[in-house]
Amino acid sequence: MEYLIHLGILFAIYSILGLSLNLVVGFTGLLSISHAAFYGIGAYTTAIILTKTGLGFFTSLILGIIIVLIISFLIGLVLSKFKGDYYALGSIGFNVIVLSVLLNWQDLTAGPLGIAGVSRPEILGIDFSNKFYFLILILIFLLIFYLISLFITKSPFGKILKAIREDDGAIQIFGYNILYFKLVIFIVSAVMAAIAGSFFASFVTFIEPSSFAVSESIFILVVSILGGLASLRGSILGALFLVLLPEILRLIGFPVDIAGQMRQVIYGIILILLMLYRPQGLIGEYKI
């Protein structure tokens, strides 16, 4: 049972991440491979605040939101000048730069030594060290984000995003400032990723920069694409599948030491097969 709760928390974290990336890639058509950076900033903000100050989890969430708001605004601004595959490469670049900051600003982050002992939240007297409560808390957030995403995508704002995805030249002619739209959705998505990061830090209690490298961004991309781009339920499905996959492998009896690498092989094959035969993912509606 404990084990299921553990998996449930991971599922919730990756669902939020998948949702956030889907907003940018699936709905707006911007191939961003940088979300691990915001995930990491959220995680580090919470880790630093919880271990070095007396402030609480929710304070760290708010601080994380503010920091990511600013950073994603700047990054989004620069990225919006790029197109298609250049956008992807530029986003990788920003991921690497943020990672370098996490690695090298050692006074703040302890660099590669990582930050240990990040505690679980405590609000209104409820101690979320109990994993079950933690799971409930994060599921609540998942629900909130799902509803927010639903609202965005079904609104006129969302329709403009889809139009940008299909043909941003045309939509500009109609007088829409596409920069504004791209930026807003990028920032919203980054904030969601950051909050997922905060939960992650509290959950694993020890974080280090290598968890937020480009490979993690690629993994989040797989979650989004697998589930189905432009399908919110798809991201949830993708997260479910990809969190369960390593466990299924382990149950089948793959030796533990190659399980990690086997996962990579499978992710890669999933991507290839998806692109070849089902680019819209499991239940998506948009083929990139």
Binding site: L89, L99, L271, M275
Partner: protein
């Protein structure tokens, strides 16, 4: 400041490696117009092939190099034939090809990790390395081979592209694939060969890196990204551009960390990329 000669040598060697990677990458980009991220893992496979043949099977090193290079080339060819070509037939966009190449990269990297374990492997047997000294800077035999290889391969490629029929056809495809098809060029066949050559060069680069620093299954992404940065800042698709970009990158990286911690190397490299993407997206050559 007598550290300068050493930094210059470090920059030249780094630049040469990046240049070799970008040569293959640019060749493929020129013909296909998409970012083939699987290029990075071909580099790694080249290195591990030679590990197999020379260290584990005890083959003569020259033979090992030839076989490894051919294996890399064939791998690239197969990727085109079995993944990219079918995708292009389905009118896949560049992003789809990029994601597919990402999938190939991830899957193959996992397989290499499983076969060879994630441990670092050194190709040089003993600690004996012939070392030469220039003005207080030290350069090893392997590093000299890297520099010479770049010159030879670069020249070879230029000759190939400008003095042969094959080269002409490749350049025609680079300019406009549709038109090339119309005038009767078998574009798929030519592109297949381009993949072979580009990947063979990549594999060779992997062998050199293996001898220079060593092998690790995860080194592909970093090398690939540097090669891509070199290509973009040089002017993507251009052979000369790639080489220029590569050396620029090598120098900026190594001189950049003279005063600050070495951990910022990657950030400097990508910072350079982003600056170019903003201000001069067509690269130094400005095609």
């Amino acid at each position: 400041m007598d550290i300068i000669p050493q930094i210059i040598i470090n920059s030249l060697v780094a630049g040469a490696i990046y240049a070799l990677i970008s040569l293959g990458f640019n060749l493929i980009y020129g013909a296909t117009k998409f970012f083939n991220l699987a290029h990075g893992i071909v580099v790694v496979i080249g290195g591990y092939s030679i590990l197999c043949f020379v260290k584990f099977l005890g083959l003569n090193i020259y033979l090992g190099v030839v076989i490894s290079v051919i294996i890399s080339g064939i791998l690239g060819y197969c990727l085109d034939r079995f993944v990219y070509l079918p995708l292009k037939r389905k009118k896949a966009s560049n992003m789809v090809l990029l994601v597919a190449s990402l999938g190939i990269f991830t899957a193959l990297q996992g397989i290499i990790s499983i076969i060879f374990s994630s441990q670092f492997q050194s190709l040089s047997e003993n600690s004996e390395q012939v070392v030469f000294s220039f003005f207080n800077g030290f350069i090893t035999e392997t590093q000299i081979i890297i520099l010479i290889s770049l010159v030879l391969i670069g020249l070879g490629l230029i000759l190939l592209l400008h003095k042969t029929q094959f080269g002409r056809e490749v350049r025609a495809i680079n300019d406009d694939e549709e038109v090339a098809k119309i005038i009767g060029i078998h574009t798929n066949k030519i592109i297949g060969r381009v993949f072979f050559i580009g990947s063979a060069i990549a594999g060779y680069a992997g062998i050199l890196v293996g001898y220079d620093t060593g092998l690790e299954p995860t080194m592909g992404l970093s090398l690939l990204l540097k090669g891509v940065i070199a290509s973009i800042i040089g002017g993507v698709g251009s052979i000369y551009g790639g080489i220029l970009g590569a050396f620029l990158l090598g120098f900026v990286e190594n001189f950049g960390i003279l005063k600050i911690s070495g951990g910022w190397k990657d950030a400097i490299a990508f910072g350079l990329l982003i600056i170019f993407l903003i201000f001069r997206p067509r690269g130094i050559i400005n095609k």
